[in-house]
Symmetry: C2
Subunit: 249 residues, 2 copies
DNA sequence: CGTGTTATTGACCAACATCAAACTTAGTGG
DNA sequence: CCACTAAGTTTGATGTTGGTCAATAACACG
């Protein structure tokens, strides 16, 4: 399960992801690929890490789709981010002892747990890895800001279009898209929890987006209808993702 | 203006702030106090840093009150954080070249600009400073998450109560409160832009909070009426602020 | 084929927005 | 000390987005 050969395969997803946001020296990449890890498979809807935990490892998403969420006082849920292969959604646990939110598998998911010790050692020995990790958490924060602006000030239609643009752009950067389409393995209720909307309203607005040919969606599969118009409908500008290269679709 | 003696006074605010979230060795503190800086005074409502800028310095709030904000497509504004003395709201610019939002002085404000070069050198030489800075940006992100949850899922009343609890707790930690009261030099329109509400609605709900004796406010001065009940009304739990010590009021 | 989950629809409702006007307050200059 | 002004707060009337509830239809999976 954790032979060096296997590790490389799992960890290469991390390297691919980090390359989209930072410059890594070949030595740094080798060092990353040599990290020890513990693989675990989670079923759909299982908590990977829970609010209140004090993790001693970080969770690298190898396969599947995950999200971070909070449950508020009256039982309402807010989803705060979505994560796919290559992401380390709880990288912040390296420096924040207690989890202030939870991490959930939205699909069956393979997670590689990377112990804090070796990760911290890596950041000490490789300044460019430290910078890449720090940058990753900073981009995380930038995405939260954008979501905050969306939920605070954008209409339901804009929010949904914006989220689709964001996910498409991010997944495209790590090679998880297929032409102008990608898998969004998320229910409308989950979209609602991410966007601060009810599932009913998400449903109605998505129908509207389909009617307007901005998207073509069947189940969990989404295809972009007209990228330019979708971007405009969502007031989307990829700047905040701070990707190293941005190419137009 | 930037004699070593003066610097210590400005930079001591930074040290006070960092102490609330991290352990700093005496040598680290000395190193921080020796940072070079450039002081500048901004008038109310002046941009300190603007979206699109590529800063070569970080802005330390020495005096006054500032916020980060974005302007969206249709001219609406979303305020994403408030900052007081000791905060470095754009610490992320150390690793993200382009500002994806702006930083504004909400009151007349004294800002100390700290050049990136010496800051980065400091993080290389003092791992505990690097950790403290990283931790600071991670707490930033944690606050964004909490705001996102609030704007997404909490009622207007809860949001306002929550924000007052947060600001009181943070300002108390750095010694900017006076008993159970503090200065909140922010208009109701600005509160609305932070909470995703209209200024009219902010007004009505604040009247309600006063009527219920949760707060006592006169102009920009706010006093907590009953801390326990205010916390309950705002569904507030300070955990997400990741302060080193939390004491009850 | 049955069963549970998700998507869709319709009727109705509430929270909050918008607009516009009046009222306070804090400065400012005479 | 008193107008005068501009900014901010408060109020009322009215409108809209999106929520809630409940039922039905469409799928997916064993």
């Amino acid at each position: 399960m954790t032979s060096p050969e296997m590790r490389k395969r799992e960890l290469s997803r991390l390297v691919v992801k980090l390359r989209t946001i930072a410059d890594l020296s070949p030595t740094a990449e080798q060092a990353l690929l040599a990290l020890p890890l513990r693989l675990k498979v989670f079923e759909e809807n299982a908590d990977i890490v829970s609010q209140g935990d004090e993790p001693s490892e970080c969770a690298l998403v190898v396969d599947g789709f995950a999200c971070r969420y909070k449950v508020l006082g009256e039982g309402q849920r807010q989803i705060m981010s979505f994560h796919s292969s290559g992401d380390i959604p709880d990288l912040q646990s390296l420096h924040l002892r207690v989890m202030d939110h939870s991490l959930l598998a939205l699909t069956p998911a393979t997670i590689a747990f990377l112990p804090h010790g070796p990760l911290l050692a890596l950041t000490r020995e490789h300044p460019d890895i430290a910078a890449a990790f720090w940058r990753d958490t900073l981009i995380d924060a930038a995405v939260f800001r954008e979501w905050l602006a969306g939920v605070g000030r954008r209409s339901a239609r804009q929010r949904i279009a914006h989220l689709i643009c964001e996910l498409y752009t991010r997944m495209r950067a790590v090679g998880l898209t297929d032409g102008s389409s990608f898998e969004l393995p998320v229910t409308q209720a989950e979209l609602g929890d991410a966007l601060g909307l009810s599932s009913v309203h998400v449903n109605r607005v998505m129908q509207e987006l389909r009617r307007d040919d901005l998207i073509v969606s069947r189940g969990r599969h989404i295809a972009i209808g007209e990228w330019e118009r979708l971007q405009a409908a969502g007031d989307f500008d990829p700047e905040y993702l701070h990707l190293r290269e941005q190419r137009a679709a």
